[in-house]
């Protein structure tokens, strides 16, 4: 079997074996499974089943990429520089081992770049950004590279990776903070990829002066470019002119870099979780101050700042007060009398507060290294002030100063730093909002607390009123039996009295229970034609007259015959409740007066309505209260003064019921007597 024009060899894993397939030249569409090996060491002769293939690979130098799915062998060839350009370009077209597989008719159906992507993902995901960019440059045959991140928050570019920049290689990050530069122009251009000849580029790349072409790739990192967030710019340099990437290659590179950065962000995530444990999980209402102390200490300790301060506005939103500070002398609680910032103070901190925008200032004089040409100095101090925003309004400022590295040197803020600080500000804003809401709620609860006690008192009174008759209602029959044992059945007086009591109390119980469940009453409303005399007047009069006379010494005066042949439409229970409430009121207010009686009568006047009048000679209703007495829960001042029991519901309820029956309830007279008139439409015979 002849093998020619082989670039790389791919072994595809099938169960515990690796299968390799190669083809001949592109014109030869046949595929041949060449070899299978099942050992761990591809270069171990005994692991190969097909020795003819082994003969091919032994003796040569191979670069091996390996994971659980693939092993790729790429022959180690001479450096690019010694290769002719034509050969190089040819190789560039045929460089992918996957090309071989694409032409095969066998089991691997993946498209070229998908498979490459999968391979490279698995290869590069274990590596850091520097190695990843280096690998990408190698894979795509570029000669040099650099990778920049743009931080919109601080408006700076930081060079994180460079194959030639001495500063980057030494671990220092270069900064560009010019409003206009090549990178800014590219980011704002709307292009995702830009290839140009370096000789035509107006900017001199000191470290890449021997390059001919630059390929710039815009890489959104995390969030969209036009929103907050970072953008990366990958520069790939080639010694050859007109050396450009394709669209699919660009996509692959973007995905790979984002994947690697996701790995790097795990450190950031771990730090966020640490910070979370320091204060997020410890906040509860009322301890905001203590939490702010913890925050400033944690920001300095864990994110490595020299100073951290938190300012919050006062309740009137007129001043910005220092509420927490960590520096060399203070460990959370500010122990000096720091002056507040006022709104019209000239200060970057106030600017941040009022405008709700971060301000950033930098002092690069602290860096030990020689600065690249692009770097500039903006402001004097290494400070960063971030707004603390709650409901889109700035309520405070978080300020940090001097990022310190492990050696104790002042270094530059990284985009990761500003991301974490933004998260801290967001957490503070969240606590601030909760604290404010809780204070409002606390005030309301205090008010509600009063209402709650009122409700409790009502429940106590209601319970007492309901259970009192119930206890007698339950016991009276026992008493009857007990009595009957010793008495002749013909002795009707006491028996009648007990039975009457039971009946009256039962009615009272029903009345009391119903007036506190008015909604259920409406639901069970049943309209029927009622005889006023037999259905409403007689039952109430016959039972209540004895009750009031015996228990309260009050006479109930009524002539039921006045209501003969009067018919109305309505619900018997509701109308009974309304009438009972008015009669009960009349009796109640007749207790401590000279004329201990009340009257139920009828005005004989109208053709289409019946007027029922309830009058008593109790104390009058004050002028200023006559419009209020039908309001729910309203109790007259005289009633309160004389401590006459009541809940203020009777008149309100009666009116609601009468109105529901298309009638009226009015105060016809406010004193001597106090008279209420119920007007109801008549239901004529037939």
């Amino acid at each position: 079997m002849k093998i020619s024009n082989i670039d790389s060899i791919v072994f595809y894993r099938v169960n515990d074996k690796y299968v390799s397939m190669i083809t001949q030249k592109e014109s030869d569409k046949k595929s041949y499974p060449i070899s299978i090996f099942s050992g761990k060491d591809i270069f171990n002769e005994s692991d190969f089943i097909d020795f003819s293939f082994y003969e091919i690979i032994k003796g040569k130098k191979w670069r091996k990429f390996e994971n659980n799915e693939f092993i790729i062998l790429t022959p180690i060839v001479a450096p690019i520089a010694v290769m002719s350009r034509d050969l190089f370009l040819t190789r560039r077209k045929e460089r992918w081992p996957i090309d071989i597989l694409v032409h095969s008719e066998n089991i691997i159906k993946s498209k070229k770049f998908d498979l490459l992507y999968n391979i490279l993902i698995k290869i590069t995901s274990r590596r850091n950004l520097n190695e990843c960019v280096s690998l990408i440059a190698q894979q795509y045959y570029f000669d040099a590279y650099s990778f920049w991140k743009y931080n919109k928050l601080t408006s700076t570019f930081t060079c994180e990776v460079s194959s030639r920049d001495v500063n980057c290689q030494a671990g220092y990050i270069c900064i560009i903070n010019k409003p206009t530069n090549q990178l800014s122009e590219f980011i704002n251009s709307g292009k995702c990829i830009d290839t140009r000849e370096l000789s035509k580029d107006c900017h001199n790349y000191n470290y890449f002066s021997d390059m001919q072409t630059i390929n710039r790739i815009k890489i959104p990192l995390g969030e969209a470019i036009n929103d907050k967030g970072e953008v990366g710019v990958l520069n790939l340099f080639s010694k050859y002119s007109d050396f450009s990437l394709s669209d699919t290659e660009y996509e692959t590179i973007v995905n790979i870099i984002n994947l690697v950065l996701r790995e790097e962000q795990k450190d950031e995530i771990a730090l966020l979780q640490e910070l979370e444990n320091v204060f997020i999980n410890k906040y509860s209402f009322g301890n905001l101050q203590e939490i702010l102390f913890k925050i400033v200490v944690a920001v300095c300790d864990k994110i490595k700042f020299e100073t951290c301060a938190i300012f919050l506005e006062d309740e009137k939103q007129e001043k910005l007060q220092l509420v927490a500070l960590k520096d060399s002398q203070t460990n959370g609680k500010p122990n000096k009398n720091y002056q507040c910032y006022l709104r019209n103070d000239v200060s970057k901190t106030v600017n941040t507060w009022i405008k709700g925008m971060a301000h950033f200032s930098y002092d690069l004089k602290s860096t030990p290294s020689k600065l690249p040409v692009e770097s500039t100095v903006s402001d004097e101090k290494n400070c960063l002030g971030l707004p603390i925003k709650s409901d889109d309004r700035s309520v405070g400022v978080l300020r940090v100063k001097n990022k310190i590295n492990n050696n104790g040197n002042v270094v530059h803020f990284s985009p990761s730093d500003s991301r974490i600080l933004e998260w801290v500000c967001s957490s503070i804003a969240h606590f601030y909002k909760i604290e404010t809401r809780y204070k409002e709620l606390d005030d309301k609860v205090k008010k509600t607390g009063a209402d709650y006690h009122l409700l409790q008192d009502f429940i106590k009174a209601f319970t007492h009123e309901v259970r009192t008759p119930v206890s007698i209602f339950c016991t009276a029959p026992e008493m009857i039996k007990h009595r009957l044992n010793g008495y002749n059945i013909a002795d009707n007086d006491k028996i009648f009295k007990y039975l009457t009591d039971i009946h009256v109390l039962g009615e009272r119980l029903l009345y009391i229970s119903k007036i506190y469940t008015i909604d259920q009453l409406w639901e069970s409303y049943k309209c029927e034609k009622l005889s006023l005399q037999t259905k409403l007047i007689y039952p109430i009069y016959n039972l209540s007259k004895y009750y009031y006379l015996e228990t309260k010494g009050i006479e109930f005066i009524c002539n039921p015959n006045d209501f003969a042949n009067v018919y109305i439409f309505g619900d018997i229970n509701l109308l009974g409740i309304a009438l009972n409430a008015l009669i009960d009121n009349a009796a109640k207010y007749s207790q401590d007066v000279s004329r201990k009686y009340f009257i139920l009568s009828r005005n004989k006047s109208h053709h289409n309505v019946v007027e029922i009048v309830i009058s008593n000679y109790g104390f009058p209703i004050q002028k200023n209260e006559r419009n209020l007495i039908f309001d729910k829960n309203y109790r007259g001042s005289l009633a309160k003064m004389r401590k006459i029991s009541g809940s203020g519901i009777g008149l309100y309820l009666s009116k609601e019921i009468i109105v529901k029956h298309k009638g009226e309830l009015i105060l016809a007279s406010a004193e001597n007597p106090v008279s209420f008139v119920i007007r109801l439409p008549l239901a004529h015979e037939g």
Binding site: T468, S471, C474, M479, T551
Partner: protein, 133 residues
């Protein structure tokens, strides 16, 4: 066995029934209907073995009730009046409201017992006799 009991309750009907139950046990009952009567007759409580007090009483006109919620707290004021005059007098709170709705300071008093009015009269009387030993 108690010989004399004072019943402080505004519910005449209830008192009428319970008096009959006490009479059957040869226990004499004196009925005090209002808060004002308690204030006026506090000295006469000296002769009683036990006081039955409904904790929900209409308020009185005396100034001692001015700060109390009418009906709701009148009984508690009455209790204090009795307790101030008779530190060790047995007071049975005979009422319709639940024990946990009553001022806990009253309920913690060793000389206070609680009975619900919803019990049968004979049971109420039996319990009161037991309280007295």
């Amino acid at each position: 066995m108690h010989k004399k009991i004072f019943i402080i309750d505004d519910d005449d009907m209830f008192v009428r029934y319970i008096k009959e139950a006490f009479y059957e046990k040869s226990i004499d009952c004196t009925h005090i209907r209002s808060a004002d009567e308690v204030v006026v007759n506090i000295a006469t409580l000296n002769s009683t073995d036990c006081v039955l007090l409904d904790i929900m009483m209409p308020s009185g006109s005396s100034s001692v009730f001015d700060d109390a919620k009418p009906n709701i707290e009148t009984g508690e004021v009455l209790y204090q009046i009795i307790r101030n005059a008779y530190p060790e007098k047995l007071v049975v709170i005979l009422t319709n409201i639940d024990a946990d709705k009553i001022d806990s300071n009253i309920m913690r008093d060793h000389h206070v017992k609680y009975l619900s009015k919803t019990n049968k009269f004979q049971d109420i009387v039996g319990s009161i006799i037991k309280f007295g030993g």
